[in-house]
């Protein structure tokens, strides 16, 4: 028996479908590329600078924490890089380098690692990073100020700011097709709805994100915007305008669908998506901020554990009548 080959022992099952976290993250990053290319081609090298810097910083932040906490190095799962990429996509191309660094570090450290790393964060780390710098350095994050000296050959006012200040009349200056293909001011990766849609569909058919969340998000926006629009067409824009501006597309396909911070059951997913959509439009129409996507998703992240309790009873579960 001594010259026998050593066999591996393990518990069942002995098959695995081959999925893994890094594959998932790489695919999400790949799906972001179309929108990213459009963004970079519109905003030029400064945009590329922001993206690479934020990816790099996020990975360094993760590595630093790994080393300090003496944990296994976890940058190879791609989740830090993906967070960095998504923060970069939310930022304006003109943002100063130190703000990118802060955003990426805050996202990884405060957004994720203080809770215990991947899988333990209650809120989407990307959004934490972005929200904190957006609130703290409003001036740098204001798209109109950011693009003050730019002329890229299309109407440069941030659509949602214009809407807030001038009502529906301002929307006439925008061509919906232009908005859809990315000719608008906004975050580097958020402007091109077409690219994001392509990426989103890719992720859905490959099964990396859940369509329930994305679709109900968009439906939530559409319905709420529609109701506002009927109530006061002068002040509140029509639904399509809401769908194509700001971070809606990025949010629906890349942010709200984050695994850890979204529900896993069918009905909760629908509630979650709808909630994100409704709150987004509420913030846009009634709130202080131009765009509400980031805060809407963060809010829904908070109630995610609660909504996810709505689940079908396990088969065979014995309900005790207390």
């Amino acid at each position: 028996m001594n010259n026998d080959k050593k066999l591996a022992v393990s518990s069942a099952p002995h098959w695995h479908d081959g999925s893994r976290i890094s594959v998932r993250n790489i695919n999400i990053a790949v799906a972001a590329l179309p929108a990213l290319f459009v963004g970079i081609s519109i905003f030029g090298m400064p945009a590329l600078r922001v993206i690479t810097l934020s990816i790099g910083c996020a990975m360094i932040a993760e590595l630093v924490i790994n080393i300090i906490a003496r944990k296994k190095i976890s940058i190879d799962d791609g989740s830090a890089a993906l967070s960095g990429l998504l923060i970069g996509m939310l930022l304006p191309a003109s943002v100063p380098w130190w703000l990118v660094v802060i955003g990426a570090f805050v996202a990884i450290i405060i957004g994720k690692q203080v809770f215990g790393g991947i899988g333990a964060n209650p809120l989407n780390p990307t959004l934490i990073g972005f929200a904190i710098i957006m609130i703290s350095w409003k001036g740098h994050m204001d798209f109109d100020e950011a693009f003050l000296n730019y002329d890229l050959g299309f109407y440069m006012a941030y659509p949602l700011a214009a809407l807030k200040h001038f009502g529906t009349a301002a929307t006439a200056k925008y061509n919906l097709m232009d908005l859809f293909i990315g000719k608008q001011s906004g975050g580097i990766g958020a402007v091109c709805g077409l690219g994001l849609l392509i990426g989103g569909i890719y992720l859905i058919v490959r099964g990396f994100i859940r369509w329930e969340i994305s679709i109900s998000f968009l439906v939530g926006i559409f319905i709420t915007a529609f109701l506002f629009n009927i109530a006061n067409p002068e002040k509140y824009a029509f639904p399509l305008f809401h769908l194509l501006t700001g971070n809606v597309m990025l949010g629906a396909f890349f942010l709200a669908t984050d695994d850890t911070t979204s529900p896993v059951n069918f009905i909760p997913m629908l509630i979650f998506g709808l909630g994100c959509g409704i709150i987004t439009v509420l913030i846009r129409c009634l709130g202080l901020y131009y765009d509400g996507v980031v805060f809407a998703i963060l809010l829904m992240n908070l109630i995610n554990p609660l909504v996810d309790k709505i689940r079908p009873k396990a088969i065979g579960k014995v309900v005790e009548n207390a």
């Binding site: 080959k5 066999l7 022992v9 099952p13 098959w15 893994r20 899988g119 896993v264 396990a314 065979g316």
Partner: protein
Amino acid sequence: MIKKPFFGLKKPELKYCLESFPFEDIPASREAILFLKKLNGKSEEKLLKVGDNVKTGQKIKAFPDSPEYVISPVTGKISSIFPYTDALGQAYEGIKIESDRNDDWDDQFTGEATLETAIDFLEFAPGKFSFRKFSDVTKKVDTIIINGMDVDLGITVNQEIVRTNSSRIKEGIDFLKKITGVSNFIIAVPENLSKEANRTGATVKTVSATFPDALPEMIIKNTLGKVVPAGQKPEDIGVAVISAESTAAVGEAFATGKVPVIKALSVVGKNGKVINVKARIGTPIGDILSKYNVAPEENDRIILGGPMMGTATYSKDLPIEPNTEAITVQSESDSAQVSDYPCISCGECVRICPVRIPVNFLCRFAEFGFYEDAERYDLNSCIECGLCAYVCTARRPLLQYIKLAKHELELIKLSEAVNE
């Protein structure tokens, strides 16, 4: 190993093997190894010693006050007795018998068709069906389901028995009727075997060819519309599930007056090639593998059972047991490698679970020892199909956590019962 489809929106579907593979006979080996369950707290006095002669079909007991026994599959001499512990920590008495290659049948088994005889002699028959459940007067079994499907993937044993030996199954059913008093018999088979199943006289129900629909709980749910409550057994709702092989064994035993000692099993090689064989219970795995030139390499796995629910074993010297349905050999590159990564709550496991368990929460609790909380998250509904761990993005050993939690809870309950 079947991978996730490229268009992963669709749930992966694992299909049972429905092909026919005729049985090949494996000649009896020089030795047979049997494991006799030890019960805790029972006396250490042994009835056995090395050098004892045994006959084929002879009932072997090791402890006077334990109901556990094994049936010798060969005629020969006990050459060694050694302690053995299985993967779940259950202790056994290992008994190695050197065969003298002649079958001298023992005559204790009279072939008289009563429940007592079945309990006394057939619990170690192929399939290892326990007849004791019929003697519990508090749980009246009124339906017996004969499982003509094989529970795990790649195995075709029961299907092949339905295909080739429906007459024995019919005999088995007649004897089961007689000894249990149950009249309602259902045979669950895949679509393509309904003709053969019809010959057995039982009511034929078809089951889908998608894993895990051949698991007893799923068959009960899909054919009878009944659900086995969490933590209970099919007997508790009046149903007993018996494999086609066990049924045929009952038929053979009472019709021939000899306790069956030949086990049918599938041998699935590294290339996925299936060979169905019939070998004596107790035959070392290595003897069967070497006959078919299946040589496991370093770090390969030898799995007793199928890829989803079987147990990977550590040695080729272990024997075929009465409930070994298959030997599946897997190369290292083809087998699942688990990680200790935390759960990312992607929910793949939750959505694929056939009994709708929130596996993501359950396994977080189980991982860190909160077994009672795990129980609140439907631990006891789990039918241990392994699908959750098959799809887990973080490659967590989910089923292992579940089994651990069940095992630990069992121990807690036992110690509570002792302390009372």
